[in-house]
Symmetry: D2
Subunit: 153 residues, 4 copies
Amino acid sequence: MDEIAEIVHRLQSEYIPGLTLDQCRESVLAVLDKREAQHALLTGIALDVLAEKDLLPDPLAAIVKSDAPLYGVDEILALAITNVYGSVGLTSFGYLDKCKCGVIGKLNDHSTGRVNTFLDDLVAGVAAAAAARLAHQHGRSFVVDRDARPAEG
Amino acid sequence: MDEIAEIVHRLQSEYIPGLTLDQCRESVLAVLDKREAQHALLTGIALDVLAEKDLLPDPLAAIVKSDAPLYGVDEILALAITNVYGSVGLTSFGYLDKCKCGVIGKLNDHSTGRVNTFLDDLVAGVAAAAAARLAHQHGRSFVVDRDARPAEG
Amino acid sequence: MDEIAEIVHRLQSEYIPGLTLDQCRESVLAVLDKREAQHALLTGIALDVLAEKDLLPDPLAAIVKSDAPLYGVDEILALAITNVYGSVGLTSFGYLDKCKCGVIGKLNDHSTGRVNTFLDDLVAGVAAAAAARLAHQHGRSFVVDRDARPAEG
Amino acid sequence: MDEIAEIVHRLQSEYIPGLTLDQCRESVLAVLDKREAQHALLTGIALDVLAEKDLLPDPLAAIVKSDAPLYGVDEILALAITNVYGSVGLTSFGYLDKCKCGVIGKLNDHSTGRVNTFLDDLVAGVAAAAAARLAHQHGRSFVVDRDARPAEG
């Protein structure tokens, strides 16, 4: 959890001066409180665990165990989390998925024998959503501060 | 606005006993308060208006004016609104877009000379999002009532 | 398979005069040949089967078995199939998911003891994709016939 | 066009040994031949041009001209292009959108007075789609070579 908050901090601290790790942690918790996020996490983690226990049918077992690059269901589930805070999280998600920063890189390490095909993408999805949530809050309060109006529309 | 609330009421009243039009209206307003929805609406309505005033370049002008069935940008913008309340709104959006219920059908009437290529889809997107929001609220409070726990996760 | 082709025929025959069931069947096969569709189908069907055999962990097991209305992962996987032929399939997918036409209604029948939480949506996704594929082909050849130009761009 | 092919080459050459710039160029052309891509490009470029000519209504004009970070419609249109080759392109898109590699960085340069709010994202979307297309082709022929079977399903 703290490791996800650190990724969120790295993503957003250049845009939001004075952003604290506590604010990032609170944003991650808010994402995890969303039903859409919970469903995607429950489903993806179950698929990882079932692959590890050899309970998935073939050829799905082989695809999930090898984290086959053309298998896109892990990205799709992760994106369902990111999308809850709108399209501005897409960029962060893709970036995290490519750079494998921080804990995401550890999860993506295939030498451990553990299957984390879904988990690394889901963590990236949660971090991108939490960053997007902060961006929206910051954007909104900035507008309010400057213009004393409730919103931009 | 009231016409959108009526569509939401029709979509959700069979699932939520005692749902009032006021609750639907409040849910539509909550959707319209989302920045993602405001951006999609501003963009889509501007494209309709510019098409009507012959300010779009060709061939885009002809495509938007004729509401060409293979032009999917109107659906994409509308879906960005629906997605803010998760994937459960997708079904309602597709259904509304096909049945052209209520005000959506009036907006889709091509005989008036007005260009509403984007507006009919955007209204369907707002209605589907407002219905999904009510479904989430209802689902959540239902779980709370039964289990006396704050959430399902 | 023939039942999916019939749904496609019902969706598109009003737009494409002279559309045959064979053309619909061929379009369904083309969708099923796409890797994106295969991955979504393998994953969703495995989740249904594992739920039926009581091999999913809780609370996911209960969610999938009851086809909980706020669980959106089934729609997300189905939409990944539909999206391969662009956003024009979204409307058909939502419509099929709501009307539960033909074989989709049979699959959605919860009285049989079988778990088809994913399968009914996946079938709707395949049918919507096959219909979108025909719409694209028809649109394209229509433009070619009329204008003797290769495409609209 | 050659600049987009170079980005595709940079994205995929580590995964596909012997990939040539000509193959990348051919893949970009295949993406541009897709109706979904053409519609997204026509719409996004029109919005950039209209913003530059001060023909957009407020507040949309200000939002598009400033490439406001919370405006997500540009990403949404670009993603519609990427999605045509499935979810594997999402990661590349996000990465390109963040790193602003090559021509994308030049387009995103706000000091020129030109409005490229949509164009930089659209170019990233085309490049990500062309890279995903190559990945699919490579994956598929790899499977065929090894197994002498038409597909992995």
